[in-house]
């Protein structure tokens, strides 16, 4: 197996995640796209840890923990937006627009 094949798979997943973050307007779906990007990064970390020792695996664990925290807080925020506005359309949250 080559290193490049894992890195390319991660690049494809990451750019699909970027597309999802830009295009989706449902808050929950945006969080799912962010999960895609975080998992792509994890593949990269593990692939490089085969060269540089176990540090990559340790930090992949940390990324998983931070992703869990991010999903928890993110879903709480989406829930609060829904409770205040009866919709999770994040394109309508444009109070900061001049």
């Amino acid at each position: 197996m080559l290193l490049t094949q894992f890195l390319l798979l991660a690049a494809i997943l990451f750019s699909i995640g970027v597309y999802g973050v830009i295009v989706r307007k449902n808050g929950v779906l945006v969080l799912m796209s962010v999960e895609l990007m975080l998992n792509a990064v994890n593949i990269n970390l593990i692939a490089f840890s085969t060269y540089h020792g176990l540090g990559g695996q340790v930090f992949a664990l940390f990324v998983i923990a931070v992703a869990a925290a991010e999903v928890g807080v993110g879903l709480a925020i989406v829930l609060l937006i829904y409770r205040n506005r009866r919709s999770v359309d994040i394109d309508q949250l444009d109070e900061l627009k001049g």
């Binding site: 699909i16 895609l36 994890n42 840890s49 695996q57 879903l75």
Partner: protein, 186 residues
């Protein structure tokens, strides 16, 4: 570029079964990831995301990171997907098909996604070319032979990376308390 790609797929030291498994998993993962960002059903998006996350776990297995693979299956497939489905349920997202999930930025999204993909893959191919994976770094510093990578990982977490580990624990605690405070009805 083309010759480079061909040589990438025709190297003679391929471990054939691992590569066949990788190709099948990768195809499924890419299709599932595209469905996550294009499907018009929120619940289906969560289920397709499950396929992608499972494929990531299988990739960890191919890379011989067994503990990470099990963590991936338990945390992502077990917990985070359920969390997403709770989010879908609590925000009363449309459970059937809905044509109101995308905004009008699809051309921008496609252009930006392709730019990111092109840039990253160009630099990856240019930098790492046809480097082969060797798993020597896992066992290099370990005197004990055999299948003890989980042991080595736990040693690394609780000795060299102890302080980041504790910081992550406090971060997780703070984030969960914050989530409760934000979502609490008062």
């Amino acid at each position: 570029m083309n010759a480079q790609l061909i040589s990438l797929f025709a190297a003679e030291t391929f471990e054939v079964p691992a590569n066949i498994a990788f190709s099948i998993i990768a195809i499924f993962m890419v299709i599932a990831a595209i469905r996550v960002v294009t499907t018009d059903n929120v619940v289906h998006a969560a289920l397709w995301l499950m396929v992608v996350l499972g494929g990531v776990g299988l990739n960890f297995l191919l890379l011989q990171a067994e503990f990470l693979a099990m963590t991936q299956f338990l945390i992502y497939l077990g917990a985070i997907i359920v969390l997403f489905l709770f989010g879908v349920m609590l925000t009363r997202a449309p459970l059937g098909r809905s044509d109101d999930l995308d905004n009008k930025q699809r051309p921008i999204g496609i252009v930006v996604g392709l730019l990111v993909l092109g840039l990253v893959s160009y630099s990856v191919i240019k930098t790492f070319g046809s480097d082969k994976l060797d798993f020597s770094a896992y066992d290099g510093s370990q005197a004990v032979a055999g299948n003890n990578r989980t042991e080595a990982l736990s040693d690394a977490i609780f000795s060299q990376y102890l302080i980041p580990f504790e910081v992550i624990s406090v971060l997780l605690l703070a984030a969960l308390i914050g989530a409760i405070v934000i979502a609490r009805r008062d």
